[in-house]
Symmetry: C2
């Protein structure tokens, strides 16, 4: 099948190392024959002559209120990038900036897929044992959820696991506080009943494996874990914070004496694969599932390489007709 050719819209203004690392990441993508269009101010993109660019006059900051910023800053890189996807000029949008504003731009400009109650943020969680990350959704778009929405999260997560990580029959877990069916709060109990009814599993080519616990997020027992956006965000940040605290304590220990330094040098080759698995750059960004387009958020600390990975992933999802696949499961 011939590759479809549309550029990826990349926000050059978002991220700790913007615009330099973002531009550099876009350049790297050219070597893989993936076209990119950069959105940024004229100043930020001055000197970029080898890439397609769209100049904008506004930038949405990291701490701005997403909804308000998107409504007010109509000529911002995020809003303009989302419109580019909506209008069919780009296949996907990517930003390492304000997550909420990226999602709000996508939602407000691209609109929802038919039949979707609420789009959800799907975040890949690194597993140290499995061969692909676990997908956690909703990891923060909807602080308050209804049980029916969690069913849609399961459906969308299944399609995403298949298109992104090639999992043919994704195992879906429901995040709770005990594995038995009756465990959890009222939302979880109600969601369990709906997910366990089984009608949706054949359509989504998925398998509901019941409740899973926080400790299962990294274990790979499920391919997709569904939860409300409040619980999902707490779990995600707890996981990231724990990993970061331990890794940083380890790195201090490595430097704490001459012996330790020698030891860490000997260990380095064995620790590298572990470090790479935990590295946000290699796990890749989150996507907003349920909108009419591909919207991807890369980590704030994204390097050029992380941006390249995000571009490659977004392009793969586009080539795989991910948005159409989502729609066909949601509106059979």
């Amino acid at each position: 099948m011939a590759e479809k050719s549309l550029p990826i819209a990349v926000d050059a203004m978002g991220g700790d190392y913007a615009p330099e690392q973002i531009i550099e990441g876009a350049r790297l993508a050219l070597e893989f024959d993936i076209p990119v269009v950069l959105f940024g101010t004229e100043e930020a993109l001055a000197g970029v002559v080898d890439l397609e660019t769209v100049f904008v006059s506004q930038v949405i900051g990291m701490d701005e209120d997403p909804g308000q910023a998107v409504r007010r800053k109509k000529d911002s890189s995020l809003v303009r990038a989302a419109e580019y996807v909506r209008d069919g000029h780009a296949s996907a949008m990517i930003s390492a900036g304000n997550t909420g504003a990226t999602m709000a731009s996508a939602l407000l400009r691209m609109g929802r897929l038919k039949g979707v109650s609420r789009p959800a943020i799907a975040t890949p969680i690194p597993t140290l044992e499995g061969d692909h990350p676990v997908i956690l959704l909703d990891s923060g778009a909807n602080a308050e959820c209804q049980a029916e929405w969690l069913l849609q999260f399961a459906e969308m997560g299944a399609v995403y696991a298949r298109d992104r990580f090639n999992v043919q029959k994704p195992k879906i877990g429901l995040l709770s506080i005990g594995e038995e069916a009756g465990k959890g709060n009222s939302l979880v109990k109600e969601s369990f009943e709906i997910l366990n009814s089984g009608n949706w599993e054949a359509r989504s080519q998925a398998e509901f494996i019941g409740n899973v616990e926080g400790r299962d997020l990294m274990s790979g027992v499920a391919d997709v874990v569904v939860t409300d956006g409040f619980t999902g965000n707490v779990a995600l940040k707890t996981l990231e914070g724990t990993a970061k605290a331990i890794v940083s304590a380890l790195l201090s220990a490595f430097e704490s004496s001459e012996e330790a330094r020698k030891g860490s040098e000997l260990l380095a080759p064995s620790l590298l694969p572990l470090y790479q698995k935990l590295d946000p750059d290699s796990v890749g960004g989150a996507v907003l599932l349920g909108v009419k387009g591909i919207a991807m958020v890369s980590h704030g600390s994204s390097s050029a390489n992380a941006i390249l990975n995000a571009i490659k992933t977004a392009n793969e999802l586009f080539q795989d007709n991910h948005v159409e696949n989502l729609q066909s499961v949601l509106l059979p």
Copy 2:
């Protein structure tokens, strides 16, 4: 002040290494002049002549439904130990067994403190930087909570932080998905308003520092983190699971080659403090706050040393009049 002298009621039947390690832990406590009374079957306690024992005919298993088990097994070690505390024969109860059943025994046999809507499980979280663990509550007793209960969790957590970790003016954080006041689900928003009203802070000698995020659980920015029992349990298990996954991946890496083995030997002295901080045995168990007595749960994998630590902690709380301190803040 002379020490009050009452034995600690220890469940000899609960835990992965029961009864041997439990009995051994109780013996270790004798060296610290802390009296202990062991609850177990005659068979399990055969040969124990140097310690006070109470024979029971029933045992509550790890997987039994807590409420049902406590109602049915009236002569179990857990129920009898809770009655011993209720009747003034023991100062505290400790189990490394079924957490839910330990809590249910305490709640149903000791009863609630006056003014307490719902007792909550307070779990110490190891911080790698701070000098004492962060207290997370509710970490699992109440899957569904009201905002007023979270205020009581804050009040009880403050007293606990003071009595257990000697924090004079505990900083209380509310677990949410963003630091700004408006972030979170409806329970969090409502709880924020109540906690931020300030009337309770003087009485509890505490300071409300606003919302905190999952990543702050190990950072020590707050001394006490309050949340509903569903979110708290998910966060706790996510944190434990992440730490365990990383530590176990590290240990595998240490064994992965001859060089790595040598490196890990050189590193061992520097890694030991980190390992000890993360070790559940050293952090200690969870307590049920809000009942008329001290009820402590030690980890299922408790060694004799972990049981000793739990006994010492329970005894300190008893000597500090912890239950009376809780009551005086809750009913001023």
